[in-house]
Amino acid sequence: MTVAARLTPIPDERSAPYWNAASEHILTVAQCSVCSALTHPPGTVCPHCGSTDPGFTFVPVSGRGVVKSWTLVRQSFLPGFEVPFLLVDVEIVEQSDLRLIGRLLYAAEETLHIGRAVRVVFEDIAPGFAVPAFALEDES
């Protein structure tokens, strides 16, 4: 049985720069022009300084982070995902509590523990679309 195509994001006025950067395999995060704090995902108000005119710009981040939790998904409720796959809840190093959730590629669950270092990688899911995922960092 062939797996259906992966679902794609619908970029909007706010998110388009993020998805454009992702298509070039660059992870960006929204930065508030008032307080400089990073926010993911960006809404209409800066959750850090409360600015209603945050003028978010997407700035590149290292994509390095640590695992806060994970789950092995064995039943996907969306089309396009081969099961099982791992999802990791990652805190990005640039800012405390800056969290992304994505797939962990090329690794088994047994390799994970809370605090495990990971780095962003990208999955090219459709022409012009890449989504961030994670891979284990070498631990020395």
């Binding site: 909007d12 969306l78 995902f81 999802l87 809840d89 969290r99 995922a133």
Partner: protein, 399 residues
């Protein structure tokens, strides 16, 4: 310090009715709810035209490809009022999570303020045909563009992340959770209206069930059902003239985290941090503490919520709920056990969203629990949803 609750024990539940809890009802959810409301009004010794208030939290909690239609997949307060032919003085819906404490609060506030004298509070839940949470979306916009393309979707992965965080942080095992499921289904099996009536679950069945999103297996999730429950509220003064012993609302609290998160991202620290504040509000507004509660009915729509509520309410130390449970701490048949799932909960009844907890408090405190009646049942507590997004209500048999 929260201001004390000036409506403490001023408003009471005076009657109820519940529909059959079934996988798929042949009647529409609206019809089921309407008939249940008529039964509840009658049970309370009232006439339909005396009801002047309607409250609910009507959310249809499916992530799947289903439409949300009033009277079919959900039932709003206004739909029910219209169905009963009433133009109510007060009708309102609670829009957050924790629909049961949220809607009870609306009922209490309406009566205490004089906005209504007799309030129907209901919760109606629908199980659509087909996969409950399965979604055929090809594209994701809005908030879901940040999670769905990565495969993060729906409430089961949502709860799997903080549950795994709990297991890793405190060295808990899935074997401990088997005790929760066995307890919920033991009690549900004793309840004639339960979906799981006469169907207890063994540890072995729990531990061998298919996993959905590790560490969540099928039995960690309540089963979706069609069902409706209705409660009648009025003032303590009016309750004196009605047929059943009133059960008073002594306090309530709900929470709402301020931390900005991805959709459906519920880190354990959010749940427990905001949950501690929910509990603090509850105790401080009611003047009642965790040691005063005879019947702490904990929410269990996903099994890890039992741990989270045990700890958030201070019924056991943080990080210890799994040991507390394994040691028999929630065995409702033991004299020293906390009866946190004596009403079967959602795991033992079906997806009735906090209704089993509220109903158990009402039945036990009004001495209407029949052969399940517990001797020691003066103060009850009914939770719903997560400690950080939901809430709890304290009920008393005495004013």
């Amino acid at each position: 310090m929260s201001a004390s609750f000036s409506a403490k024990n001023q408003v009471a539940i005076v009657g109820y009715a519940q529909s059959p809890i079934v996988k798929h009802d042949t009647r529409s959810l609206g019809v089921v709810t309407l008939e249940t409301a008529r039964s509840a009004i009658h049970d309370a010794g009232l006439e339909v035209d005396m009801v002047d208030g309607f409250v609910t939290g009507s959310l249809f909690p499916s992530a799947g490809s289903h439409s949300a239609e009033d009277g079919v997949s959900l039932v709003s307060a206004n739909w029910l009022a219209q169905g009963l032919g009433i133009n109510p003085r007060y009708a309102a819906g609670f829009q957050g999570f924790g629909q049961i404490p949220g809607a009870v609060a609306l009922a209490v506030n309406a009566i205490a303020s004089g906005a209504a004298n007799y309030v129907v509070m209901h919760r109606a839940l629908h199980n659509p045909k087909g996969s409950y949470h399965g979604n055929v979306m090809r594209e994701a916009g809005g908030g879901q563009q940040w999670t769905a393309p990565q495969g993060y979707f729906g409430p089961i992965s949502m709860i799997a992340l903080p549950y795994n965080e709990y297991l890793q942080r405190y060295g808990a095992s899935r074997e401990a959770m088997a005790t929760v499921l066995v307890e919920a289904r033991k009690n549900g099996a004793r309840i004639p209206w339960s979906y799981w009536h006469d169907q207890p679950l063994t540890r072995e069945e729990y531990l061998s069930a298919p996993m959905i999103s590790d560490p969540i297996c099928r039995y960690d999730c309540d089963i979706p059902v069609d069902g409706a429950a209705v409660f009648l509220f009025t003032s303590a003064d009016r309750a004196r003239d009605l047929p059943h012993p009133p059960v008073y609302v002594s306090g309530y609290a709900t929470g709402s985290p301020t931390t900005h998160r991805l959709p459906l991202h519920w880190p354990l620290d959010d749940i427990m941090g905001v949950g501690a504040e929910t509990a603090r509000r509850l105790w401080s507004s009611s003047g009642i503490g965790p040691n005063d509660i005879d019947l702490p009915q904990l929410y269990d729509g996903f099994s890890p919520f039992v741990y989270f509520w045990l700890e958030a309410l201070g019924l056991c130390p943080v990080g210890e709920a799994h040991r507390f449970v394994e040691g028999g701490g929630i065995d409702s048949d033991r004299p020293d056990g906390l009866p946190v799932l004596s009403g079967g909960g959602a795991l033992g009844n079906g997806r009735m969203h906090g209704i089993p907890q509220m109903l158990e408090c009402y039945l036990q405190l009004s001495r209407r629990a029949g052969d399940r009646q517990r001797e020691q049942a003066s103060i009850g507590l009914a939770c719903h949803s997560s400690p950080h997004f939901g809430g709890a209500v304290i009920y008393s048999a005495d004013r």
